[in-house]
Symmetry: C2
Subunit: 369 residues, 2 copies
């Protein structure tokens, strides 16, 4: 996507093919830093520490991790057991996003098919690139399908501003291009529809106020940052036309794990008859799970992510301690919104209801156990 | 209440009776600063800028404002018109908490009854003190009544930890003693019931992580800070037994204005069959209003309260800018939880359902238009 008229993606392979380059998203919006990831340890650290985040991007980064594993094999023959071991390490970097395991397994599957070391390395690289391109294309299609919803609202409102609300960052920074939740917004903007986005700041790591606001602002899209507490009030007063969020893992029955707080927005949308959509590529469906609340593992992260807030003071990025030093905090990173609160899914193949029947009608080739 | 074994209130009259002393709550928890308020302008500034906050404390502070108005009258006779004008200025300091107008009118009513200037000044002072003592006593009684609810849960759980969740600060810092939402917690703690409090950080001004955590910590009560986003997840997983919040204004029909985000917690409590109680002195009921969402004015505050976060860095309190400098924010300070989501009110006279019938049965002397 465009940043100051330069085309940019959140991840790419260095020209010498030896390092993966990523935007260090922890430093945005006040610093723009590119990090070089040179081996599996770097990749795991970048996923854990959230240089990169967002389900599709985590998947692509991990896919490149398999490539770096092959490239840096300590044994020239690149043993299968070594690759499997490295893949298992990659898959355990974060627990919630299903794209991580999905992407790693996809690359590994292709690599294990070939024999020669050079071929293994090349296969890993082309597979990772293929996943990146497929995610970008999926997001483009999600935008196309989601545009229909935004366009309908715009017509109903006779061209008045369409107010969307989103939580966290499911933008191009979380994907490769367009984003998932933001793809319909970018598509509507390109089409000249008057859109305005309420951006939940998204505590604790403020991916909304730091990343989504940055993305939308750089693209010239009208937006207003609000606290995570505010969405219900806005909905009560007719200030939200539609909610669109992303997801880190959705069950084939339609339950949706996403950034903590998503469930509260879904409840408010339901209470105020506002459509609540989840935008996702099919790689984010977990075809093995049926009950999201019981089955999706919810990551608990460092409480200091809540206790300290990072921002700019006199040109310097600092972290400040908000609560009393002695007060503990608990940091659950995701919650699960049950399917009954989801109006529909926006996927690369079109829009469907959040039911197993409708999801599988759109993806008939997928099998659940 | 006790802070490091010293008895403390958030407001008191200086020994020379010329200034009102308040804890500057903007500076907590990292700095403990007492501010001297010497005239009506100081009082208005302290309310607007939130040196003091919380419905009962705003009321008491404004009541002392009437005293300072009388004390500092430019004309020795202390004209009624002057007093009325100053009271009207006091009442417009903040729009949402009904206690503000209630307390000011109560003091003014008594002052206008007397003739001599010295008597006017004395009446204003004793009335303000009376309101302060009444609020302290109300909170003590709220604690007594609310204790029954906590005790019941503790018995049902066979003595296992009772997990309460609260939003914002409705503690003694917001009142005079005990607090409203926290009064049952302090009472349960005194009785030896095992309680643990989930403290919503309460963006944007972090009254939860800064003030409630400080209060509870200094009193030795177990607590854990969570993001405002987390409550729904905790409730889904059985980690919350009861929600108790305060309110800035409740209609006689049971709608509740409270810190923005309260409505989202009420929705989650309902969705998970968790009792959701609102603790308030009767001074917080607005007997004139019937539809909270339509009628209660919701204050919109400076967006920079969202954009900047205050905390401690290397011993210095700093404000850091979180989002891009160019991104706008909107700062709605309260929302309204409809009566249908409120399990009950905990008042100084006991517990009642959130219906006009039940509220008025408890306060039969109150008249609505």
């Amino acid at each position: 996507m465009k940043v100051d008229d330069k085309n940019l993606r959140p991840i790419w392979l260095d020209t010498d093919l030896k390092a993966v380059k990523v935007i260090d998203q922890r430093r945005l919006p006040h610093e723009f830093v590119i990090a070089d990831l040179k081996n599996v340890d770097d990749i795991i650290m970048a996923i854990k520490e959230m240089y990169v985040r967002g389900a599709p991007l985590i998947g692509v980064t991990a896919a490149y991790g398999v490539y770096l594993a092959a490239l840096n094999s300590p044994v020239k023959t690149i043993e299968d057991d070594y690759l499997k071991e490295e893949c298992s390490r990659l898959k355990s970097a974060r627990p919630t996003a299903v794209n991580l395991a999905w992407a790693v397994d996809k690359v590994l599957f292709e690599v294990l098919k070939v024999e020669k070391p050079k071929k293994k390395i090349d296969t890993a690289r082309t597979q990772a690139e293929k996943i990146a391109e497929a995610e970008a294309e999926n997001c483009r299609k999600i935008g196309e399908h989601g545009l229909v919803l935004v366009d309908e609202i715009s017509r109903r409102k006779k061209g008045k501003t369409v107010n969307l609300l989103t939580h966290c960052n499911a933008g191009w920074l979380a994907c490769i291009e367009y984003g998932t939740a933001t793809a319909p917004i970018y598509a509507a903007y390109e089409k000249g529809i008057d859109v305005h986005v309420w951006v939940d700041e998204t505590r604790p790591l403020n991916q909304g106020s730091r990343l989504t606001a940055w993305e939308l602002g750089r693209h010239g899209i009208k937006h207003t940052i609000i606290t995570d507490n505010a969405g219900g009030h806005l909905m009560q007063h007719g200030m939200v036309d539609i909610v669109i969020v992303g997801t880190d893992r959705a069950t084939c029955t339609g339950d949706v794990a996403n950034k903590i707080g998503t469930y509260l927005k879904a409840l408010a949308a339901r209470d105020n008859n506002i459509p609540f959509y989840v935008a996702l590529p099919s790689s984010t469906f977990d075809w093995n799970l049926k009950d999201g609340i019981k089955e999706i593992p919810i990551e608990e992260r460092d409480p200091d992510e809540i206790r300290y807030v990072q921002g700019l003071d006199q040109g310097i990025t600092r972290s400040v301690l908000v609560p009393p030093a002695s007060s503990p905090a608990a940091n659950f990173a995701f919650d699960v919104t049950p399917a009954r609160l989801v109006t529909g899914f926006i996927t690369e193949r079109g829009i469907c209801k959040a039911t197993e029947h409708d999801i599988k009608r759109l993806f008939p080739e997928k099998k659940s156990p």
